[in-house]
């Protein structure tokens, strides 16, 4: 008998954080513009010492203004998607659940497309119009969250099966709308939409977006973490969970809103990156077990590692052309998942 202790949890998270750090360093080194580790280390030192003016200007702009923010975006998006995936798998009691199964990403895509169509007609200052697509996506996600919530209720509470059904139907309905919009709207802006739909981390965002993402991520993940033991019990069955002391309606509501919010955050800035939210929770479960007190933080870190790695591949494999991150996550993730599954089964 080895119950979970804080020490073991901290150790596991520390290992993963270390791996994340290494992956970040590797990601910083590789790119369309090569960077030597020595120069990188030297610049980090200078940066920490406050000597920012001496940072080599050749690639200072590239490293600190393009590559590092992109890596940070990958961390937050990867973490969000993994936590959301873990939560939905527990909430819906379904190992096939991923962050997009309830239609949040489809709603975000519709919002983004509408924003792209509307952009030419709105005379906005450039700083604001740059935010129009993410905001449109986020509003689309929020509207979908509300709609699916009302569809997924039975007797005034969220019911897992009804929620899943309502979400899947909403997703396919919204996907049909996306197809329709893409094939009939003539606005040139929608041309790049297909690329966005595949999942893309290449857009450079303003500071404010990063603050919003970071705070949103921690708040939502924190909210879900408070229900970690409840989720463990929920997996045994809803009636059982209630008899063991779980306030099932409240937990369902909190997890649903927080996980959907995380998905909306991620999709607003990066499109629908596939497989991360589905595979990372399973991998972490195979390695660390299904206690959500461990699973949630390790999934977050694992998702960050996975996406930083995938994004680095996406932007270096056929540089300077960039692949869609979602394609890389699928190609790399699926075989890995099969391997781990077979190992776990034996």
């Amino acid at each position: 008998m080895r119950p979970l202790t804080f020490r073991r949890l901290f150790f596991q998270c520390f290992i993963l954080a270390l791996i994340l750090f290494i992956v970040v360093v590797v990601a910083m080194k590789f790119g369309a513009v090569p960077v030597s580790l020595y120069a990188l280390g030297r610049d980090v030192l200078r940066f920490l010492l406050g000597q920012t003016s001496q940072i080599s200007t050749d690639y200072g702009l590239i490293l600190w203004n393009i590559r590092l923010p992109r890596i940070l975006l990958a961390i937050i998006v990867g973490g969000s998607l993994s936590v959301a995936g873990t939560s939905f798998q527990a909430l819906l009691r379904n190992p096939l659940a991923d962050p997009y199964v309830l239609g949040v990403s489809s709603g975000a895509s519709v919002g983004a497309i509408l924003a792209l169509i509307a952009t030419p007609y709105l005379a906005l200052p450039p700083a604001v119009s740059a935010l129009l697509t993410p905001m449109g996506a986020f509003l689309g996600a929020a509207a979908t969250i509300a709609a699916v919530y009302f569809l997924g209720r039975r007797e005034g509470q969220i019911d897992s099966t009804t929620l899943l059904l309502g979400g899947v139907i909403t997703a396919s309905f919204l996907n049909a709308i996306i197809m329709f919009l893409l094939s009939t709207v003539t606005s040139g802006n929608t041309r790049g939409m297909a690329f966005w739909l595949m999942g893309d981390l290449s857009t450079s965002y303003q500071k404010s977006v990063f603050w919003f993402l970071g705070i949103g991520f921690f708040v939502a993940t924190g909210a879900i973490y408070t229900t970690a033991t409840d989720l463990n019990l929920l997996l045994a069955g809803e009636k059982e969970a209630m008899h063991l002391g779980v306030d099932v309606p409240r937990v369902r509501l909190v997890v649903y809103i927080a996980a959907s919010f995380l998905t909306g955050l991620a999709v607003s800035v990066s499109g629908s990156i596939a497989y991360v939210g589905l595979i990372v929770p399973h991998i972490m479960r195979l390695i660390f077990g299904s206690d959500h007190r461990t699973l949630l933080p390790t999934a977050a870190l694992g998702g960050a590692i996975a996406l930083v790695f995938a994004d680095t591949l996406a932007r270096t494999v056929v540089a300077p052309t960039e692949l869609a991150v979602g394609a890389v996550t699928a190609v790399v993730g699926a075989p890995l998942f099969i391997y781990l599954l077979r190992r776990g089964a034996s």
Binding site: T5, F6, L9, F10, C13, A17, V24, G31, A32, V33, F47, S53, I55, T57, Y59, G60, L61, I62, W64, N65, I66, R67, L68, P69, I71, L72, I75, L116, P120, S129, T133, L182, S183, T184, T186, G188, N189, R191, G192, A194, F195, W196, M198, D200, S202, T203, S204, Y205, Q206, K207, F210, W211, G214, F218, G222, R315, A319, P320, T321, E322
Partner: protein
Amino acid sequence: MTEFAIPRFRSAICIVIAAALCAAAPLRAQSASPTPPSSSPLFREVTDEAGRTVRIPQPVRRIVSLAPSLTETVYALGLQDRLVGDTDYCDYPPDAKTKTKVGGAINPSLEQIAALRPDLVLMTKSLNRLETVYSLDNLGISSYATDPHTVDEIISSSKKLADVLGAPEAGNLLAADIQHRLADLYHRIAALPPKRVLFAVWTEPLISVGKDTFIADAMRRAGAVSIVDSSQDWPQVNLEEVAHLQPDYLVFASSHSESVAPQLDALARLPGWRIIDAVRDRRYAVISDAVNRPAPRIVEAIEDLAKQLHPEAFAEKPEAGKEKPGKEIPQAQHQSFLHLPLDIHSSSPDAATRGGCVCAR
């Protein structure tokens, strides 16, 4: 005695600090970032064709082009020495292939663009993504977008571009040359009735061009009227509709003329296509894929198409020489009308929007 939750917050604090450090890096860097060395204190404000007000450093010494049509235009204006980077698909003139590549038009590498330290990045509203514009704005790199929808707009757009790049005389020369050729063409064919054509961008499914595109306008200048009357840019056309309208000719744009004939033979065997007279009788014209790019070279494709559709107007050789300053004329563009080996070759930079788009603009 239960273990307290305070230790758990310790790990949360560690993660927060780590994240804050990571977030602080770009934020501090942005506030302390040095200006790119090639910029000068002078700026010029222009409004580009997407309606944006852009600040362009003067003079413009380093240009990155994110669209093949703009690369061609830069060469046509004689400013290729200032071009430091272009896309993977910029292949005309051949020298453009030697420039540093920054990736695709839709998915260029921001890092590569930034590494070239451009004064100005050229884009088109129809080919490039809005996100790329915003990202370049966020990085402090100036960008200028064109958006021509007709042949006249292509001309005026090139003139404006020349002005923005600081070479207005080259722009005027280029515009005058093109106007002259178009005027000449007009005199030859204005009296003749236009031929009804179907411009096939892709055959399976059948995709043509809309009436508001520059391609449709170019065809009008060549004495051809597209039977497709759609306000979409790349409408998918019903074969039945085509059979009902029975165009006089099919028009294909291709860089390799050899294999259009066998492919058309294959099409002619299909029931849906056989009923179209132009397919059965092999009445088609093949022009260079210059027609797909809103660049000065489109005038050659227009002339070519006119010759193929209205050969009687070109009984004598045209007088004006083909060599014009600042413009290269590739040899393989003058093709006779009959039975040339041609191929419907698709070099599609992004097949993502439709089932295959032959336009490499």
